[in-house]
Symmetry: C2
Subunit: 441 residues, 2 copies
C-alpha cells in the first residue's frame, strides 16, 4: 500500500468536486491563492515554511483502494467522482514564495492553477502544512534575531503533536535555529540533533555525583551536565570536580535565569572552568531570550514557545479562488464580498521593492486575467518573489528533502538581512513594510 | 519496512539509556509519572486524551534498520546500546486514567513502570501525544458544555499540522463534538464526517443561483447552502427559491452572528422554511458559543480555536521519575528539588472522592514504595481512576482504534456529569476540585 496524503482533506472539497463534475464546472481553469490577511499577534513579518514538505506530500496525494472504499461506503461522492479521483494526479502549476521567504499581509504565498476540480482538493493539505510550519518559523525567526550570535536549539517535541513536532523542528531550523532534540527531524531533514540528560538521570542515581560520573564516562568531558536537580551551586562545584575544568557545559533548567546565569559564570570562572559553557532551557521565548542578552549565557534551548508559535500556533493563511474562466472562456477575478473577511480577487505577481538593499514595500501587481501580469524587469529596484514549484504537474525536487531544507534556511537568513531595522523589534506593531496593490490594466 | 514511532523521541533519552547500560543502572526498577502541575489558562478541569493513540504508537515503538543506522552513523549511542535497542520492546506496565477522564493538578495520568532503560525512552512520545490531544479535548469539552444540546462539528484541520489535525478531530469528538470535516479522522477513528461547500464553490459559478442549483442537484435538498458569499439576505431568499422550503440548512461564515442569526431565522420563517436549520462557523470559541446561546442557531462548526486548544495549545504535562530502587533493592521516592518546578515523588494511587455523586476532591495516596498503595475499597465514596493499560508489555487493545475512541467519548460524557456546577463556568478560576495528597505509611 502506497502512502497517501489525500485524506488529510476536508470532506467539502470532495463534495464540491463531485458537484462540479455534475454541472460541468469541474474543468474551468481556476486560480487559487494561499495568503494571509494579516500577521498574527502584531508581528512585523511572517516567515513562509512548509513548502518543501507540501511538495513531498503532493507526490503522495492520490486516492487508492482504501480511500475510494471509504468514499463509496460513506456516500461521500457519486460514482463519477470516484472514477475521477481514482485517476487523480495534480497536473496544474503552483508558483509561490520560496520556503524561508518573508511574507506580509496579502502576499500571494502560493498560487495554484489548474482546473477547479484539480486545484480545489489541495486546500486543506496546503493550509495545514503552511499554517503550522509558518507559525513556528515566524516565532523561531524572532527568537533567532533576539539570540544574535548565540546558538538556539529546538527541544519542544513533547509540547507538540508527535508528527507536528518533527515539522516544527524543521521550521525552527529554517528560521535560524541550529539544532533539535528530535531524532526523526535529524534523520528526515538532516538537522543536527543534541541532548545529553534529563533530571531523571540524576534522580536515578544514589547521588548526583554517581550520575555526573556516569554521564562523563559515557559521553566524555565535553558533555553538558544538568546542574539544577538539587542545589545549583553545589551542582556546579560537583560538576567541575567530577569532569574537570574542561567540562563542555552546564545546563540550567529552572530559577531566575538572568541572576542564576551570572552567578554560575562567576563560580565556573573561579573554579578555573573558563571554557565551560552555560546553556539555559527554562520556559524561554523571544522575550526571555532578549532579556538574557546581557547575561553570560552561551546557548539557548527552546521548547514550548517555539513549537506553539509563541502564542500564535497557526498563521491564519487562507486558500481562496481568486480568478477563473467563465462559461465563455474569459477570465474573471472573483472574491467574497463580506466585509470582515474580504479578499482581493485577481491573479497576482509579487515583488519586494528595495531601497539601497533594504525592503520598503511588498508590491503586488493584480490583474483579472490569467496571463503573467508583471515581470521583475519592470521593477529594477525590486526582487521577484515567486518561483515555479510545480510546472504542469512536475514537482521541482530541489525544494524537497534535506537539500531543500538547507536551502530554505540559507534563503531565510539571506532575505532577513533585507529587513529594515524596525522589523527586528519584538513589540507588537504594524507590518515592517506596507503591502501595495497595483492594478494592471 | 514496518512503521516505527521510535524516532519521535528526544535524543537525550537514548544517551541516558546508553549511559545507564554502561554504569549498570539501566535495569533499576523505576516508576515514571506523567502529570500536570497545573491546569493551563485557569481552566477548571482538564480532559485526558490521546491514550488510545499512544497505545497504538507503542506497538510501533521499535528500532529497525533505519533507526539503528542513523544512531550508529551519527554516534548517538555506543554498540552496547545499539544491541539493546535492536531488541527493544516495552515489557513494563502502564496504569493510567482512562481516556476521556477528567484530570486536575497532580493527577497521575500515566504511571509507567519498568526498568529505567525501558521506561525512560517513552518520555517524548507519551508527552507529545497526551499534551496535544488533552489540550484539544479540554478546550473542546468547554465548547461542548457551552453548546448544550446543539451539535458541534470540528472543522479546524487547516489550522493544525496535517497529522495533528487528525488527532485533534479525534480529541474533539471524545470531548463531545459530533462530527469532523477531516476525512482521515472519519476513516481512522470512525468519526462522522460533514461538509458541503466553500465560498469557492459560489465564486466558481457565473451566478450564486447556478452554484446553489448545482449543489442541490448533487447533494439533495437536505444539503446546507453557504449564503454569505455576497449579500446574506439575498442569499437566503435565493437559497429557498432554489431548494424550496425543505432546504436542510444555511451556513453563516461571517458577520455579527448573534444579530445575523436572528435576522436569518426570521427571514427563513417568513419564507415558510421553518425546518431549515442555521449553522454558524465564523471564528467560534467557547465564549462565542456561549454568547450565541439565546440566538436561534441550530449547530456550530468550530475551527481554529478547538484545534489550537483555544489559547492553550499544549497541556503542560511532564514525565518524571518518581520512584526507583536503590543499589540495595529498596524503593526510593525521588523528585527534583528546585522551587519553581518541584514535583511530588513517590508512587501514587488516585481516586475521585464523591459526595452524593458529585466530585469533591482528587484524592491521591502516595507511598515511597512499589506496592499498590491504596485501593478503592478503602474509599467507599470514591471512584478509582487508574486502569491497567499495558500489563507487562501486553497492551489492552480495548482502548485503541474506533472502539476505544467511542468508549473514551462515552466515558467522558459520563464522568463530566459528576463535576460540580462551578466547574462548568468558562471564566478563569482555580480547579473545580482540590487535589489532596495523602501519605501512606
Amino acid at each position: 500500500m502506497r502512502m497517501s496524503s489525500a485524506f488529510l482533506t476536508d470532506r467539502y472539497e470532495l463534495t464540491m468536486l463531485a458537484a462540479s463534475l455534475r454541472d460541468g464546472t469541474s474543468s474551468r481553469p481556476s486560480v487559487f491563492e494561499l495568503f494571509s490577511r494579516r500577521l498574527s499577534g502584531g508581528r512585523r513579518f511572517g516567515v513562509v515554511a512548509g513548502t518543501g514538505r507540501l511538495l513531498t506530500l503532493l507526490r503522495e496525494f492520490h486516492f487508492g483502494e482504501g480511500e475510494l472504499r471509504y468514499l463509496r461506503d460513506h456516500d461521500v461522492v457519486d460514482a463519477d467522482a470516484l472514477r475521477y479521483l481514482e485517476n487523480y494526479r495534480f497536473t496544474g502549476t503552483i508558483r509561490g514564495y520560496r520556503e524561508g521567504e518573508l511574507y506580509f499581509p496579502g502576499s500571494p504565498i502560493l498560487t495554484v492553477e489548474g482546473s477547479f476540480a484539480d486545484a480545489v482538493v489541495l486546500e486543506t493539505l496546503a493550509l495545514s502544512v503552511l499554517n503550522h510550519d509558518s507559525a513556528v518559523a515566524t516565532a523561531a525567526s524572532r527568537m533567532s534575531i533576539a539570540a544574535g550570535e548565540r546558538p538556539l536549539a529546538e527541544m519542544g517535541s513533547r509540547r507538540a503533536g508527535e508528527r507536528s513536532a518533527v515539522a516544527a523542528a524543521r521550521a525552527a531550523y529554517i528560521a535560524g535555529f541550529v539544532a533539535t532534540s528530535n531524532l526523526e527531524a535529524g534523520r528526515q531533514w538532516g538537522i543536527p540533533t543534541m541532548g545529553t540528560a534529563a533530571h531523571s538521570w540524576t534522580l536515578l542515581h544514589d547521588s548526583e555525583e554517581d550520575a555526573f560520573r556516569a554521564q562523563v564516562d559515557s559521553l566524555g568531558t565535553d558533555t553538558t551536565l544538568l546542574v539544577d536537580t538539587y542545589d545549583i551551586r553545589a551542582g556546579v562545584d560537583l560538576a567541575i570536580r567530577v569532569a574537570g575544568t574542561e567540562l563542555g557545559g552546564v545546563r540550567l533548567d529552572s530559577g531566575d535565569l538572568p541572576i542564576v546565569a551570572g552567578e554560575v559564570r562567576t563560580q565556573l570562572d573561579e573554579l578555573g572552568a573558563t571554557n565551560t559553557k552555560i546553556t539555559v532551557t527554562s520556559d524561554l521565548d523571544e522575550y526571555a531570550i532578549a532579556a538574557l542578552a546581557a547575561s553570560p549565557v552561551d546557548s539557548y534551548g527552546v521548547g514550548t514557545s517555539v513549537v506553539t508559535g509563541s502564542g500564535y500556533p497557526t498563521a491564519g493563511m487562507v486558500y481562496k479562488l481568486v480568478a477563473r474562466q467563465d462559461s465563455a472562456g474569459g477570465w474573471v477575478a472573483v472574491a467574497k464580498a463580506s466585509t470582515d473577511k474580504a479578499s482581493k480577487g485577481g491573479r497576482k505577481a509579487a515583488f519586494r521593492t528595495l531601497d539601497d538593499g533594504v525592503a520598503i514595500a511588498e508590491t503586488i501587481a493584480v490583474s483579472d486575467g490569467f496571463e503573467k501580469v508583471d515581470t521583475a524587469a519592470e521593477h529594477p529596484d525590486a526582487r521577484g518573489l515567486q518561483v515555479v514549484l510545480v510546472d504542469n504537474g512536475e514537482i521541482d525536487s530541489s525544494h524537497e528533502g534535506v537539500a531543500g531544507t538547507a536551502s530554505a534556511r540559507e534563503h531565510h537568513l539571506r532575505v532577513r538581512e533585507q529587513l529594515p531595522v524596525r522589523a527586528l523589534a519584538l513589540s507588537k506593531s504594524d507590518p515592517a513594510i506596507p503591502t501595495r496593490f497595483v492594478d494592471v490594466v
